[in-house]
């Protein structure tokens, strides 16, 4: 592997983040803080504890996961879509660089940014609610694995999208609803039994549950199911990206 191209892509993507600091970092932090104000302080004070955890603290892992999923997808999709849109992708495709190096550069940068944001939001939430992290190793593992997996998904969306509208389609119509309905703001045992069963078909439930377990030791599904689901996602994204590069789908005529 040649690290120079990976470094070049990674640094260029991180430089884009620095150029758009307000949009990249400040905006997600503000919107997450607003969730805390509304759900944590205003509404949360009227909600009793969930599984022995105050409601404000209960939603922290879900909020981080919500931001992690949406930001990973949007960062990675925009990172590869923009060169396609501007035409400068010719340079990437004509460079002596392997598919793996391209993916590491773009996905690595998108995931780094999401992880950084996740940690910033974690620190911000500490200002609003008392936090405890029961399993720091697992917390970081979930954070990194989720960021990488959904950055891979974003990369696929960026290649698939042939316009800005499509770029927003999956994050807005798929990721956000699944995250809201995936137990970010509630425990699924608060739902009627029928909806509990339906909810188990939502893959985000497993991510939120595993992440919440790493904080408070409480979960909706087993740790193995959460790890298995994210591994499945990761494998599916890697297979899809392998196919994209092998066939040149939406990249090479």
């Amino acid at each position: 592997m040649n690290l120079h191209p990976v470094r070049a892509i990674y640094m260029a993507e991180m430089a884009r983040t620095r150029r758009t600091l307000l949009q990249s970092i400040v905006s997600p932090v503000i919107s997450t803080s607003l969730y805390f104000v509304v759900f944590g302080a205003a509404i949360g004070s009227r909600i009793s504890e969930v599984n022995g955890v105050s409601y404000g603290a209960f939603i922290v892992p879900g909020l981080i996961m919500l931001m992690l999923l949406t930001q990973s997808v949007s960062n990675a999709s925009f990172g590869i879509f923009f060169p396609k849109f501007s035409g400068s992708i010719y340079e990437l495709l004509s460079a002596p660089i392997s598919h793996l190096e391209i993916v590491i550069g773009y996905v690595g940068a998108a995931a780094s940014k999401s992880i950084l944001l996740g940690l910033i939001i974690l620190a911000t939430s500490g200002l609003f609610v008392p936090l405890e992290i029961a399993h720091p190793f697992w917390m970081l593992t979930f954070l990194v694995l989720t960021a990488v997996t959904f950055s891979l998904l974003g990369f696929i969306i960026g290649i698939w999208a042939d316009g800005f509208d499509r770029l927003q389609l999956v994050p807005l119509l798929v990721i956000t609803p699944l995250t809201f309905l995936g137990g970010s703001f509630y425990s699924i045992d608060m739902l009627p039994p029928f909806w509990q069963t339906i909810t188990l078909a939502n893959p985000v439930v497993y991510l939120v549950s595993g992440f919440r377990w790493s904080f408070y030791g409480i979960s909706d599904v087993s740790l193995a199911a959460s790890v298995g689901m994210i591994a499945l996602f990761l494998a599916a994204c890697l297979v899809a990206i392998g196919w994209i590069f092998r066939t040149g789908y939406r990249l090479k005529p």
Binding site: P5, M11, A15, S86, G87, S88
Partner: protein
Amino acid sequence: MNDPIITINGLNKTYEGGFQALTHIDLTIHRGEIFALLGPNGAGKTTLISVVCGLVNPTAGHVLVDGFDNITHYRQARERIGLVPQELTNEAFETVWNTVSFSRGLFGKAPNPAHIEKVLKSLALWDKRNNRLMTLSGGMKRRVLIAKALSHEPRILFLDEPTAGVDVELRRDMWEVVRQLRDNGVTIILTTHYIEEAEEMADRIGVINRGELVLVEEKAALMSKLGSKQLTLNLHSPLTEIPAHLQRFELSLAAEGYELIYTYDGSQEEDGHAISELLTALEREGVTFKDLNTRQSSLEDIFVDLVKERA
């Protein structure tokens, strides 16, 4: 000079919709030459370059770059190539310095600020190094694309319509840059609409039409082989028809009989004798002239004839 640096064999490209853009292209580019690829719009010039550079998958055939297959040994092949695309494609918000440095890294080279500085200075971009690309003129953006292509010190440079939309002064500057690159051992392949450009710069010329390589020839040989010459005599008195004794010469009348035009093959030694004979015959017929000039057909004439012939 005849050491091959790019060898293209049996290259075909049919796009998904069924359009055949390239039909069995066989072509060898020699190390250190400037090769001009001429052809009308949609002839297949850009597709051919794109296949060599790895932007388009070929349907059949293969390409060797300095002995390396451009698909199975893409790293070795591509690191030797720099590509300047036809479209002005740039990351608008980046600075000149950053975008050129990025290209060097992307092509697997360690950072080398001294080289980037040299490239920017050679293209008169040094003063603009901290400018964002969106603030540059079209000509400057074109130079940035060339700088990006040269950032990783390629041995082969593809220039796809390098001077399209560029003013005359800048065009001449770019020709000078290209010549300097050739003098430094870089092989240049350029596509162009400007016949003048090919005529001015190329060592060899290939003409592509409807996806087929119609002809590949040394420029001088091509001009001499296919180029004809014309001798135009401005007559004192107009002629209504070619005098009978002059019928054996290939003559025509123009400018309402005031111009007598003799078309001949400039490459033959006997043409010189033919001109003397024509002038003697004219004197004998009492046809006098006040001025004369000769004109060799340009590459443009040759190109138009070739393309028309195959249409």
